[in-house]
C-alpha cells in the first residue's frame, strides 16, 4: 500500500522504506507540516477531512502519472487526516529515482497534483474563528489546470 490516508501519526521512515530500491541513487521526501503563522495570523490547530476511498484512488493516479513521466521512479504518499497540532506532519511524499534531478522534479509534481485533485480539505482554527481552506466563496470553480503562483508557494 504505497498510497494511504491515515488518522495516525505518520512514520516518515515507513514511507521512505516503500521506495528504497537497488536502482535508486536518490530519494527525496516532502513533509508537509502544520505551520503556526499564515499571512501573520496564528493558527491554533488544523482539521483535515477526506473523501477517503476517492482520495486513495487519486493518490494512486498521481503515482501512475509519475511513472509515465519518470519510468524509473518509485513513489509513496501518506496523508494524515483528523486534528493536527502545530509542527505535526500532514503529508509525506517519498520518491526514489536513479538520479537526483528526477527525484526532486517528480516529488514536486506529486505535491502540486495533491493540491489539485485529491479530495482532502483543511479547516484552520484561530483564536477568533475557523474556516475551511479552499475557495468557499463559490466564485471560482475547481481548478483543473496548474495552480496559481501564490498557491504554489502556500
Amino acid at each position: 500500500m504505497n498510497y494511504e490516508i491515515t488518522r495516525d501519526k505518520i512514520d516518515i521512515q515507513d514511507v521512505i522504506d516503500k521506495v528504497i530500491s537497488r536502482n535508486a541513487g536518490a530519494i527525496t521526501t516532502f513533509i508537509g507540516t502544520v505551520r503556526e503563522l499564515t499571512h501573520g495570523k496564528k493558527t491554533l490547530h488544523l482539521f483535515y477531512e477526506s473523501y477517503e476511498a476517492m482520495a486513495v484512488k487519486k493518490l494512486e493516479e498521481i503515482g501512475r502519472e509519475i511513472s509515465e513521466r519518470w519510468p524509473d521512479a518509485k513513489t509513496a504518499i501518506t496523508h494524515r487526516i483528523g486534528k493536527l497540532e502545530i509542527t505535526d506532519t500532514a503529508v509525506v511524499i517519498a520518491v526514489s529515482t536513479p538520479h537526483r534531478d528526477d527525484a526532486y522534479k517528480a516529488n514536486r509534481y506529486a505535491i502540486e497534483r495533491i493540491k489539485e485533485i485529491v479530495p482532502i480539505w483543511k479547516k484552520e482554527y484561530w483564536d477568533d474563528g475557523e474556516e475551511w481552506i479552499g475557495n468557499q466563496k463559490e466564485t471560482v470553480a475547481y481548478p483543473d489546470g496548474r495552480p496559481e503562483e501564490n498557491e504554489l508557494n502556500d
Binding site: 473523501y51 493540491k115 479552499g134 468557499q136
Partner: protein, 77 residues
C-alpha cells in the same frame, strides 16, 4: 436511489454528510437543481462532483445505485 455525499464547508452548509435521492436517468445538473429547489442546498453550480469516486461533468447521466460526491476546492498537502 442516488447516494449523495457532502464534504467540508458543503457538509456544514447542507447540515448533513450524506442523503439519498430518488432519481434515475437524469443528469448531475438535474440533481444539483433538485437539491437546490427541494432541499435548499445552494452553491452547487460551481462545485466539482464525483460520480462513483471519479470526477464527472454536469451532463453525466446518473443511474440507480450511483454515489455522487460534491467536491469543494481541495486543500490537502
Amino acid at each position: 436511489m442516488i447516494k449523495v455525499l457532502f464534504f467540508a464547508f458543503l457538509k456544514e452548509a447542507a447540515g448533513r454528510e450524506s442523503m439519498e435521492v430518488e432519481m434515475s436517468g437524469e443528469t448531475l445538473a438535474d440533481l444539483k437543481k433538485k437539491l437546490s429547489q427541494e432541499y435548499r442546498i445552494e452553491n452547487l453550480e460551481t462545485v466539482m462532483a464525483a460520480v462513483n469516486e471519479e470526477f464527472a461533468p454536469d451532463d453525466t447521466v446518473l443511474e440507480e445505485g450511483d454515489t455522487v460526491a460534491f467536491i469543494p476546492p481541495v486543500s490537502g498537502g
